[in-house]
Every structure is written in C-alpha cells, then in structure tokens.
C-alpha cells in the first residue's frame, strides 16, 4: 500500500518542523518508507483534502490522517507486527503526556530562542506571515528576542533536567531502545539544528549529547541527512 507524507518545507530545502519529524521517525521505526511531499507555509491548500491546513498529513491508502499524534496511533494500530512505538498501553498513555510536555513546556522554552532563526530561513513569501504571528505570540519583536537569547538559553537549562536525569539511567528516554517519546523530544533538537548554529547543550551535557548523536544515527542517519548547521552535532 502506498504511503505519502506531507511535510513542511523552508528555504534551502530545510525541514525544521518537529511535528513532521515525529511522523518521519515513527514511520522509520515501523520500517515504512513513505513518499514525501514538502509544502511551504503558504501552500496549505495542498493539504485541504485532509479537512485542515497543517502538516504532517499522512495518506495511507484510502485513509487520510492529520496531526502527529493521530499518525503515531494509526501506525501503532495498523502495523502491529513492526516494532512498537509505545511498548504497551501504559507507554501509549504516558507518551501522550510527554507529547503535551514537549508541546507546552519544552517548546515554550525553546520557541523564543529559535524564532529569529526560523524567520531568517523562512522563504521570502512566508516571512511576513511568520513574523506577524510569532511576534504576537511572544509579545515582543524578533530583534528583542535575539537580544534576550542568553537569558532564554539559561531558562531552558532547568526545563531539560528530567531528560538529563532519565538519560543518565538508560541510553534512550524509552529505555534500551528508542520509541515514540524519544522522537517527540528529539523533534525539538532537530528543529534547532535545522535553523541555527546555536548549540542548546552545554559542553558538560554528556548524557543528552550522546542521546542526540544516537538519535541522529538512527535509521541510516535519517535525521542527519537533512540540510542543517554542523555545530549542533
């Protein structure tokens, strides 16, 4: 059955969307290789058939699924012979909690650090839309965000502490092997390296740094293969 994944495209062929990386890595985890179709912010019409305007959108035969969590659940339920994304019902329930933590705590700390870089890399026709919506969200201009970067990076440090603690115990957040919660968190690091050369991790962050390297190596270096800045591993 043919699989088609719509994902976000930015300038220089960059693919920074963490939501799309969740879907790409979940598909790879299941051993599936979808056809990819990359669309710009202003090309939302291309996924209008899904009943909404955002990516990722997965087309799996006759089934259309939007929203990264719905895609993960679809893959888990429809490809049960492939390795599990959740490793049991408890893992599914708590992956969803981790999903909300990433969306509301980790992204909240990361987004103001990264926004000026995302703007700089946005396609010319997307820039005005991106600047307007994000400046309204953060309540300050992109230039003000850039000036505050050192303080924003310092505020990120304690948010990462649960990850540090967990990765001091096992190589992946989900244990000895990566699973969906790893992809949820890694999507944010993938966004960061797609848009800027700021390393979010200090030199002493061995556990998180090793984990990020392992995540980049997965599935024949799938996440490493995109256009990205080199300094961030």
């Amino acid at each position: 059955m043919a699989l088609l994944l719509y994902e976000r495209l930015c300038a220089d062929d960059r693919r920074p969307s963490p939501f799309c990386w969740r879907a790409r890595l979940a598909l790879a985890h299941k051993g599936l290789a979808p056809e990819l179709r990359a669309i710009k912010f202003t090309e939302s019409d291309e996924v209008a058939f899904s009943g909404q305007s955002r990516v990722p959108v997965l087309v799996d035969g006759a089934t259309v699924i939007h929203d990264s969590w719905a895609i993960a659940c679809h893959l888990e339920d429809n490809y049960p012979e492939a390795p599990s994304l959740f490793d049991g019902p408890g893992g599914r329930a708590l992956s969803r909690l981790v999903n909300h933590w990433v969306d509301h705590s980790l992204q909240r700390a990361l987004a103001p650090v990264l926004a000026p870089y995302v703007l700089a890399l946005a396609l010319p026709e997307d820039r005005s839309y991106y600047r307007r919506t994000r400046e309204a969200k953060f309540g300050m201009t992109m230039e003000q965000l850039a000036v505050r970067r050192p303080a924003l990076l310092e505020a990120l440090h304690p948010v990462l502490e649960p990850l540090r603690q967990r990765l001091a115990e096992t190589p992946f957040l989900c244990g000895e092997r990566p699973a969906y919660a790893d992809y949820l968190v890694f999507g944010e690091f993938q966004l960061a390296r797609s848009v800027c050369d700021v390393d979010l991790l200090g030199a002493e962050e061995e556990a998180l740094r090793n984990w990020r390297t392992c995540m980049l190596d997965l599935y024949d270096g799938l996440a490493r293969s995109i256009t990205a800045f080199e300094t961030a591993a």
Copy 2:
C-alpha cells in the same frame, strides 16, 4: 508475608511526604495493606538498617527497599498478579521520566510556595534543621518566600499545563484507570493539602480539580483520611 512501611511524621499527625504517598498508593494499588511506622525528621536512626537515612523504606519479609521508585519496581516485579503500576515496559520507562519531571520541574515550582507552611507545621525539634537546609536551597529566607507567594503561584500555572492537556482527554494521566504516574503527580497535591490552605488550582481548573477529587476517593479515601486542610478539597 508481613509488610512494614516507614514514612515521615510531622506535627498534628500530618504525613506530608510526597515520596511516602507514592509508596502508600502503590501498595494500595497492589491491594497490599502494610503496617505503618511514622518517624520524625530527627529520627533517621530508625531506618539506619536500610543503609541510608530517608523514608520511605519498605520491609517486605526479608527484603529491605528504600527509595520510592525502587519500592514501586519491587511491588511491580514481586506482585505481578495484582493490577500493574506501569501497564507494560513502555509505561515503566516513561513513569520514570515522569518521576524525574515531578522531582525536578513540578517540585521546583511547588517547593518555594509550600516551604513556609511546612516549616510552620514541623515538629519543634525539626524546625531549625528544616529552616537552615531549605533557606540555603532557595537562597532566601522563609519570610521572603512568603512575600513572593503570589508570583510563585503564577509561575506554577504553566508548569501544570501538560497535566491539564492530558486530563482533558482521559480521567487519569495513565488513561481510564490510575497508575503509578498518577501517584507520582498526586503526591505533590497531597503534600500541599497536608500543609496549607492555599489552593494550588484556580476556580476554572476543572480537569485537574476533578482528577484530584478522584485521587482522593481512591482506595476508600486513603489519601483523604489524613489530617489536612479542607479548602484544598
């Protein structure tokens, strides 16, 4: 086989330790009713046989286990016929991540709000130790913390957002039934209602408020049965 749980005792017979509540609720989840032995901060010698000084300590026949996470894993592995605390290996791995989030993110936001109340309720012989260690940790006096309470409560609000989002979907963090991750988070609310009449939840917090009520009702109102302040449900 006889089970004995050592837990923390404060003034007025209060039992505020969230770590001990994790163990008490995990035991109840497994259908186990341990004998309880409550010790003061200054009575650490009573658990010296465990090779360290903190509670909870569980004695299960010839086995001595300290640390709330180790106790949960002991119960899961040694009482496999009783309802699962983790609901699969993925649930165990991510419960540990939630454990670290509670210890390093939720507690970080809650502790400075609650510390002055814990001090007021500490047994007279424990007060000097508690004040000295906690003021060193927070870098300010108990009186300064009390003055800053409104700002500290406001800073707690976004930290709770992943819980709000998750509880808008299912009655418990772990799904249709409570499990260990629910006990991890609930321990902090139990600490709060044990020591103060400040409600951590605003009036509009329906999902979190309903969940807290359900948690108090579990196991014949086990968590509701202790000495606590009434305003916090």
